[in-house]
């Protein structure tokens, strides 16, 4: 493990035994392959990321499918913390780590955005499928409670048709969630219901 990854990621996640377990969980999780890893990144790095993100410009994005605020692709931003984080995610070491867990062939190309959902913001059900996208990921940078809304919800599907919500993730600071993008990876961000902010760094790994 390089010094770079050591600075960012809790070392417990890099043992061979742990990686095997993560792979098994990823593959077996329903309704489609995914993982939720609490405290994946070092807490001080989460704080640095949050501070770095607070200096970025967010634009309101609205369409039939969503309403939330988002930064431009952070691969091109000048902030050193965000740049280092983007480099970390696309580094050969981290790509190798993700490949071992997901057994998906990845290229090293990523997208990375900062997103903020505020009161009444939402993201309706969709599958994230765009050519090349293999894994969707989101790193939560703050805590929400059940009554705040803003949970990430996964739908189960029958014959590739989504039927109902099977799993929900209430954002917790430092938690990394990622899933395999496919025709059945139907998910949504439930409407935020209180005067709060749901802050994430999210994007996709390509293969």
């Amino acid at each position: 493990m390089t010094l770079n990854l050591n600075n960012w990621i809790n070392p417990e996640y890099f043992s061979e035994e742990k990686i095997k377990k993560l792979h098994a969980n990823f593959s077996d999780n329903q309704p489609f392959p995914h993982l939720e890893i609490p405290n994946f990144f070092q807490q001080e790095k989460i704080i640095e990321l949050l501070q770095a993100l607070s200096k970025q410009e967010f634009s309101l994005k609205q369409s039939d499918l969503f309403q939330f605020s988002q930064t431009q692709d952070l691969l091109y931003c000048g902030n050193p913390v965000l740049k280092e984080f983007a480099n970390l995610l696309s580094s050969p070491e981290f790509i190798d780590f993700m490949q071992k867990i997901t057994k998906l062939k990845l290229k090293g190309k990523i997208d990375l955005f900062g997103s903020i959902y505020q009161d009444a913001d939402f993201l309706l059900p969709h599958d994230d499928q765009i050519p090349g996208r293999k894994i969707a990921f989101m790193l939560y940078l703050n805590d929400l409670e059940e009554n705040d809304g803003g949970a990430l919800a996964f739908y189960e599907s029958k014959n590739k048709t989504p039927t109902k919500v099977m799993k929900r993730f209430i954002p917790k600071s430092g938690s990394l969630v990622f899933f395999e993008v496919s025709a059945v990876s139907i998910h949504m961000v439930e409407e935020v219901l209180t005067d709060t902010q749901r802050i994430t760094l999210s994007g996709w790994f390509y293969g």
Binding site: D64, L65, A120, F122, L124, P125, T161, P162, E191
Partner: protein, 184 residues
């Protein structure tokens, strides 16, 4: 009972509306206080007491629907004049929106070209609650139709123009929005 607001039956006004519909940049007209108060209140009551059935396709829509027969010769004559199409009858569907309802764009549900006729039956709707029927050309231009009770909206969906319904958010959770929609 008078059906349509007499102002809309005056020849001069009808001509103006037709011109606006046929030659406007966005082929649509929004006509406020369209029906007489009596007629509107009667149909508002009828729509409120309909037996709505929940209809949901997660990747396309969530709302409740009911059939309704709105018989108004004056309306049909007016629509025929404005659209320059011969309209002998028009079937409407009543749509009821509640909190969390929506309609999103989906390639499997693309609509053919046609003319949409929307009759709004909900008073005092706040645009911030969502629930607006919104047309889009797919190139970034959107035309939201603000909800207003007793408004008649006529939209020609030319090639590429599709519609969706804005997600109805928690600020509207104690309210329901009802409108009638028919297609020519």
């Amino acid at each position: 009972m008078d059906e349509v607001n007499s102002a809309y039956l005056k020849e001069k006004n009808k001509q103006k509306i037709r011109k606006s519909f046929l030659h406007g940049e966005f082929p649509a007209v929004i006509l406020k206080d369209f029906f007489s108060k009596e007629f509107y209140v009667e149909w508002q009551k009828k729509a409120s007491s309909l037996n709505f059935k929940r209809d949901a396709v997660i990747l396309h829509h969530s709302y409740a629907l009911s059939n309704i027969k709105l018989a108004s010769p004056e309306l049909l004559n007016f629509l025929s004049f404005v659209t320059k199409k011969k309209i002998d009858e028009l079937n409407f569907t009543a749509c009821l929106l509640a909190w969390k309802d929506y309609q999103i764009l989906n390639d499997k549900y693309l609509e053919k070209t046609g003319v949409d006729v929307i009759i709004d039956l909900t008073d005092e709707w706040n645009a911030e609650w969502g629930g607006a029927v919104t047309f889009t050309d797919g190139k970034g231009t959107v035309y939201p139709i603000s909800a207003e009770g007793n408004a008649l909206v006529i939209v020609e969906r030319k090639k590429g123009l599709q519609k969706y319904i804005q997600y109805l958010n928690h600020y509207g959770k104690d309210r329901k929005r009802i409108f009638l929609i028919g297609s020519i």
